[in-house]
């Protein structure tokens, strides 16, 4: 008898766990409290609210709350947004639980005031892509880490992780019952995530043009119903771009210096065969550089991953070179500038001859961080046109950028302590 009883209880246990997982992945695809015609009326919502308050309802508070929200803000209908890949993404519930798979989307959600809705994220949001860490993985600007509190208390790295650079845990995502997943654009897996996780997936991401950044801001703002904050953020970014462009647009192209931009740094020299890039990797489109009043020597290059010959860089004869700063430089290791200045093959380049080789912020971090784009734009402008931008306070500007995006004061000041090249232009 006892073995039989134990067997049954074991079966019950397993069944219970299975049921729990199955119910967790059942995400609604219709509007709550609707009579199935796809449009919520005021009467339907109000009846549901009254019944709920009388405790005579099949609907939960979440149901009637969501229905009220949909009626009030979506005209009682499902909401559709068009994502970066032109996918039509339909929401049947307001977004209260978010999973992000890359830092650009996490950062944007924070900037739009919805950090407390993020229930899981990727390894880079938790590590150093939104708030900085050093090469030892120690937090830079620890006060900023503390200031950015997640729902229920804790820091960014306390958010559960559901994906790494190479792997994504669909099952865990489904169990967490998100209302939406914001995925990076380069994976092209929005439909797969929707199918496996059972919720809408928005493919969204920033780029190296500010038009892409504005579109990113507006897309996330639209999905989160944070239109006002999105407009405010876009206006802020535009104001910074205008601040620089209003000056550099007055400079004749013939007066603008030519620039070679090495966004992947030069940690391993010309080319790192493991990563497939290094000093000879460049970008043909990096708008912060153009706005800053530089002429990108690689602007005619085509393709996504442009590796050029070192001879080509010499032939371009750039007046300036910007090499993205490597975190290993903080340990006193030779940085990209050292490599360029000390490499004989590059010694005839005007930038090298005239000591116009500079570090700049690494413009990627599992995406294209808008904060770094803005800071590089201001920083490059000050270096390329020091007289015109002599009054521009880099530290104040940098702190303002982070205040706008993360809502925290003083982040740039602490970042500049770790990346000292930033202080050279103040």
């Amino acid at each position: 008898m006892r073995p039989k009883f134990t067997f049954i209880t074991a079966i019950l246990l397993i069944a219970g766990l299975l049921v729990s997982v199955m119910t967790a992945s059942a995400v609604p695809s219709t509007i709550p409290c609707d009579n199935d015609d796809g449009i919520l009326t005021e009467k339907e919502v109000s009846d549901a609210v009254c019944k709920y308050m009388l405790e005579d309802s099949q609907y939960s508070l979440d149901d009637v709350g969501d229905a009220s929200y949909i009626f009030k803000f979506w005209d009682g209908k499902p909401k559709t947004v068009t994502d970066t890949h032109d996918r039509e993404v339909t929401f049947y519930r307001p977004v209260e639980r978010i999973i992000t798979t890359n830092p650009d989307n996490s950062r944007m959600i924070i900037a739009l005031g919805d950090l407390d809705k993020i229930i899981a994220t990727d390894e880079c949001t938790r590590s150093g892509c939104v708030l900085p860490r050093d090469n030892n993985d120690e937090k830079i600007a620890p006060e900023a880490w503390k200031a950015l509190q997640i729902h229920g208390g804790g820091q960014l790295d306390d958010i559960p992780e559901t994906n790494t650079r190479k792997e994504i845990d669909y099952e865990r995502m489904a169990i967490l019952k998100p209302d939406v997943v914001f995925d990076a654009t380069w994976y092209n897996r929005g439909d797969l995530i929707k199918e496996k996780v059972g919720c809408p997936c928005v493919d969204a991401g920033a780029g190296f043009t500010f038009a892409e950044s504005y579109a990113h801001i507006q897309l996330i703002g639209n999905a989160l119903d944070q239109q006002e904050k999105a407009d405010e953020l876009e206006l802020f970014v535009r104001s910074k771009v205008d601040m620089i462009e209003s000056v550099t647009s007055q400079i004749d192209d013939s007066e603008k210096p030519t620039v070679y931009f090495a966004p992947r740094g030069a940690k391993k020299g010309f080319y790192d065969s493991v990563e497939g890039r290094d000093f000879t990797r460049t970008e043909s489109v990096y708008e912060p550089l153009n706005i800053a009043g530089g002429i990108n020597v690689a602007k005619e290059c085509v393709g996504d991953k442009i590796n050029v010959l070192s001879e080509q860089i010499v032939a371009w004869e750039p007046d300036y070179i910007f090499v993205a700063w490597s975190s290993s430089s903080s340990f006193g290791e030779p940085n990209g500038v050292d490599f360029v200045m000390e490499t004989p093959e590059l010694s005839d380049i005007p930038a090298v001859r005239n000591n116009n080789v500079y570090s700049c912020l690494y413009p990627y971090c599992r995406g294209r961080p808008i904060d770094r784009s803005l800071l590089n734009m201001i920083y490059m402008a000050k270096l390329l046109h020091p007289e015109q931008f002599s009054d521009l306070d880099m530290e104040a500007e940098g702190n303002e950028v982070y205040k706008q995006i993360l809502g925290i004061d003083g982040v740039y000041t602490e970042l500049a302590e770790y990346q000292p090249f930033l202080k050279e232009v103040n």
């Binding site: 134990t6 209880t9 019950l12 729990s20 609210v49 308050m53 508070l61 407390d116 229920g152």
Partner: protein, 200 residues
Amino acid sequence: MKINKFAIGLALLIIAGFVFSPVALAAGGDVTDVERHVPSGLSTGKSAEITLEITGETPFMIGIVEIIPEGFAFPEDDADVSDAKYFKVDRNAGKIAFSVSDESEITYNVIPSGNDGSGFEGYWVDMLFQTQELNEGKERWKSVTDPNAVSTTMISSSTLEDTDDSSVSKAPGFGAFLASVSMIACLLIFRKYNSGGDKE
């Protein structure tokens, strides 16, 4: 087969924590208060108008439930109860519920059984408040304030805290039942194997 006692205990704690963990609430919302005004000098059997004053910024949408004192009644016809746009009356339970959208005041009528108007109880909930929490329930309900019946409000609050929020769950009690079954099963399995271990 030996099963580590500590590991099982830990597993049970994790399960219990997962199932029964209290919902951490995010505070806020556009509506800040709902205040009841009961006319002084109620007369037995004579209809009296109760006013609910809502303070907050539009747009808002709230649910309100009022529980009238024992012995009090609602007028027989709904049309005589309230001119609010959306309400429902449960005469057996002595309750009236409202769905209120961007209105700063609603009223309803009762027929008193005495002249003491201090026994009203009421709760409201902000329907537009957003939180990542699942299984939201009565912990989000707030008491209707009544400047003339402070003690009533206090009683209401404690009553609310005592109330289990399972009534708003889609499957009331199922989670707790499932957790209980799971834990009992674990205990039974543990006991069986552990007793064997003791014998050795």
